[in-house]
């Protein structure tokens, strides 16, 4: 009966009285890729922790059958020995060690006396890299020399080196560029052909659809459905994930784009470690009142560097001017920027967004705490009133404003960070990857909020790696490639292909569509 490599039957995992998983069944055949879909907090990560014995056998109910035998692993090393390897969303590489050393971490090849057998490890690492179609990688260099995409490949090489028979990929593409994702998906197809099974967890449903044979959807800890991908499409996956029809992923809030109010002039950023290298090369652009400007480009193109320089948060040396209302403004530190009416929701929520030891409410009021103070003392009532208002406005789901912010889901944490910045009443709002690691429902609410802000006259700059999102919500799209401005498009009939073509173009020319001559002071166009 069992042509399944892995069967998880009736998995129940409780924390205190709360059932995080409530009877989940997952089956995986050898050489099959199963897409595991669900909103944030649906229980995907918990399920994978059960499978990889982060939660050892006995702390949950149900059974795992691996290769026809019940698996009762007590630790990750046991599951890895069995051939189950998990690649976490956050990479677990040691940046200062070489690629080869990372691949053999914990399984080092040794010579007598415990000395490292570098020649053998480098030889094997090079073979693995050839297998992964990156033969030009120098495996003796430190991992930190390589970008996010290559690092992800090193993680996969590390897993393959452990003779993985089941590879669990948890949001593997969140830091990858489009082309790197293609490489990754090709590799997964290769692995499938060699009989390696995969569980692919991702919010990016187009990737799931492209590579998975079967889709299992879980919601609120319950198994909703397992269907062959051939019988599914992306809208039906979304319907199963949210439990309701999601007719439009990108709500359009009617808003009018006004005159030019904000301008970035000749922004150039130099690399932190190598001050001669330009990460952003002389970029200028304008932004109109009530406009949503999407900034697209491949990861590493310099988008985050550009916007953090505008906000005064770029760690290295940079030059350039920022103008608001026809006057240059001082944005050399985040504090000065916020005072001038410019604020930013940063890319990395955990490292740059939330204050883990403060409550939800205290996180929200952090940036404007002064306004509640009477002679140094915080007026607790006024503060709480403001917090309640923001929680209601953002539809932030929390049992109480006093809960630790770390107890919220990613989407709700993001709403809290957004609320914190909105309380400063910005005229220009920079959002860097505002929906990264955010579930479908919260994404929808964030888009809606962006529309409402634009309608009230706030100008928004949104950096995003998801092209569909950029095209879905922007009025205008800037394309950045290798630190240069490669395209400036009015978003009317704009296609993903056009944007990608601009991002990949080699010359220093800036592509335009229609008769888009956005010079400073150009007359604005109205959209609805």
């Amino acid at each position: 009966m069992s042509d399944y490599l892995l069967q998880m039957n009736g998995i129940v995992k409780s924390f205190g009285g709360v059932k995080a998983l409530n009877g989940i069944d997952i089956k995986v055949r050898a050489g099959e890729c199963v897409g595991l879909c669900g909103e944030n907090g649906a229980g995907k990560s918990t399920l994978m922790k059960v499978l990889s014995a982060v939660y050892p056998h006995g702390t949950w109910e149900g059974e795992i059958v691996w290769d026809g035998q019940p698996l009762k692993a007590q630790s990750i090393s046991e599951t890895e020995a069995a051939g189950i390897v998990i690649i976490h969303q956050e990479l677990t590489l040691v940046p200062d060690l070489s690629v080869a050393e990372n691949i053999f971490m914990g399984h080092e090849l040794t010579l007598p006396g415990g000395r490292m057998n570098y020649p053998a490890m480098i030889h094997r690492a090079e073979a693995l890299m050839r297998e992964l179609k990156v033969p030009d990688m120098n495996v003796a260099l430190p991992v930190s020399q390589y970008g996010g995409g290559y690092q992800q490949l090193v993680e996969i090489a590390k897993a393959l080196n452990k003779q993985a028979r089941l590879l669990i990929l948890d949001e593997p593409s969140s830091a990858l560029t489009r082309s790197e994702i293609e490489v990754l998906l090709d590799i997964i197809r290769d692995l499938k052909a060699k009989g390696v099974a995969c569980v692919y967890i991702s919010h990016k449903l187009d990737e799931v659809a492209a590579v998975c044979d079967t889709i299992s959807v879980i919601r609120d800890g319950k198994h909703i459905a397992t269907t062959a991908m051939a019988d599914m499409d992306i809208p039906s996956i979304i319907t199963q994930m949210v439990g309701r029809e999601m007719s439009n992923l990108y709500p359009t809030e009617p808003h009018t784009v006004g005159e030019v109010i904000f301008e970035a002039r000749n922004v150039t950023c130099y690399d932190v470690d190598n001050p001669k290298r330009k990460r952003v090369d002389d970029i200028s652009f304008v932004l109109k009142r009530g406009e949503i400007l999407g900034i697209a480009g491949l990861v590493g193109a310099g988008r985050t560097e550009l916007v953090s320089a505008l906000f005064g948060a770029y760690p290295g040396r940079y030059t350039g001017e920022v103008w608001l209302d026809g006057k240059p403004i001082d944005t050399r530190t985040p504090l000065k920027s916020i005072r001038a009416g410019l604020c930013m929701v940063p890319e990395d929520r955990k490292r740059q967004g939330i204050i883990p030891d403060l409550g939800v409410g205290q996180n929200i009021t952090l940036a404007v705490l002064d306004t509640f103070a009477h002679l140094t003392r915080i007026d607790a009532e006024a503060e709480l009133g403001s917090i309640d208002k923001e929680i209601a406005r953002m539809h932030l789901k929390t049992a109480s404003p006093f809960l630790p912010i770390t107890s919220l889901s990613g989407g709700n944490q993001q709403k809290a960070v957004l609320a914190k910045m909105l309380l400063t009443q910005p005229r220009v709002l920079i959002l860097d990857e505002p929906t990264r690691g955010v579930d479908v429902g919260a994404k929808y609410e964030i888009y809606k909020l962006m529309g409402a802000l634009a309608a009230s006259g706030v100008s928004i700059i949104m950096v995003s790696s998801e092209l569909a999102e950029v095209l879905g919500v922007s009025d205008r799209v800037l394309v950045i490639g290798e630190g240069q401005l490669r395209g400036d498009f009015i978003n009317e009939g704009l296609t993903q292909e056009q944007v990608l073509a601009a991002a990949l173009s080699q010359s220093g020319d800036t592509a335009h569509n229609k008769n888009n001559n956005d010079r400073p002071g150009a007359v604005g166009d109205a959209r609805q």
Binding site: T333, L335, I338, G353, I355, P356, A373, R377, I378
Partner: protein
Amino acid sequence: MNQLKQLFTRYKMLALVIAIAVIWLFFSWETDGGFLTPRNLSNLLRQMSITGILACGMVLVIISGEIDLSVGSLLGLLGGVAAILDVVYHLPLPLNLCIVAGCGLLIGLANGCMTAYLRIPSFIVGLGGMLAFRGILLGITGGTTIAPVSPELVYIGQGYLPPLVGVVLGVLLFALTLFLTWRQRSNRALHGLAAHSLVRDVVRVAAIGAVLAGFVYTLNSYDGIPVPVLLLLVLLGVFSYITSQTVFGRRIYSVGSNMEATRLSGINVQAVKLWIFGIMGVMCALAGLVNTARLAAGSPSAGNMGELDAIAACFIGGTSMRGGSGTVYGALLGALVITSLDNGMSMLDVDSYWQMIVKGSILVLAVWVDVSTRAGRR
């Protein structure tokens, strides 16, 4: 067992109070009650005041994610300066106080400047200061004890409040407790939050009242409330207010919890750190004054290892090692633990090498208990 663990997780300070009670009972039994006499308790609190004053400042430094190793030496230096100004230059006490506190503030700000603006790790700044300040002290005193200091200065360290003042103070504090409890209840009602049960609040107020009454009665049945203990009580109030009610206080926690996110929220994190170190410097000045007054002399070895006692007090009192959480009253309870051990073991004539072993072990044990009851944290 599990329930007990949960109880301690929620009321961490309860565990600390129980630990203090156990320590006191043990010493009391070993000394045939000598430990718990009013005279010894009065001594104990006076002894504790120096570590306590330092711990008040240190807890802010540690919450903000830094450390200051120089406070023991700085205490000695500023205490020495106070003694010299008093003994050699006969400066009037108020002027002396101002100069010493001003020096403390400036040196603290210099430490803060090096840490926050020049980005030298505070551990190194503290280590350097620890050596340098001690060196300056040895230089200006010539390695000798500066004595005798004037009676006015001695009063700061050895004086007592008249019993009546003590009683009035106790009554006022009790009235303040009543008022704060009442305001908290009405505030919670105003925001539709479930008020704490009346029984809970009554028990709490009664407990605070009993502790206050016991405190005043015990001290009054010796010589009255010692002046340094009064100073410590005032600092407890001021620092609790700063950490829980003010913008600056909130920012201390926020900087320690996630400095990058705080900076990106438009907060001048460098200025926050600068002022924390400035406050630490003033606390060193106060501790130095009290220490000189208590010994009635400026000694070149004053405050030796004081930084370690203050840091240990913070950690025993539940301050997080990676910054972001901790309380002032916790740190003072920690200081009480340390001082009780010192005092009790001295009464028992325990060899000083044993005292060091015991204190070290208690520090490690306390932090282990803290770490293992910290539910759901990394």
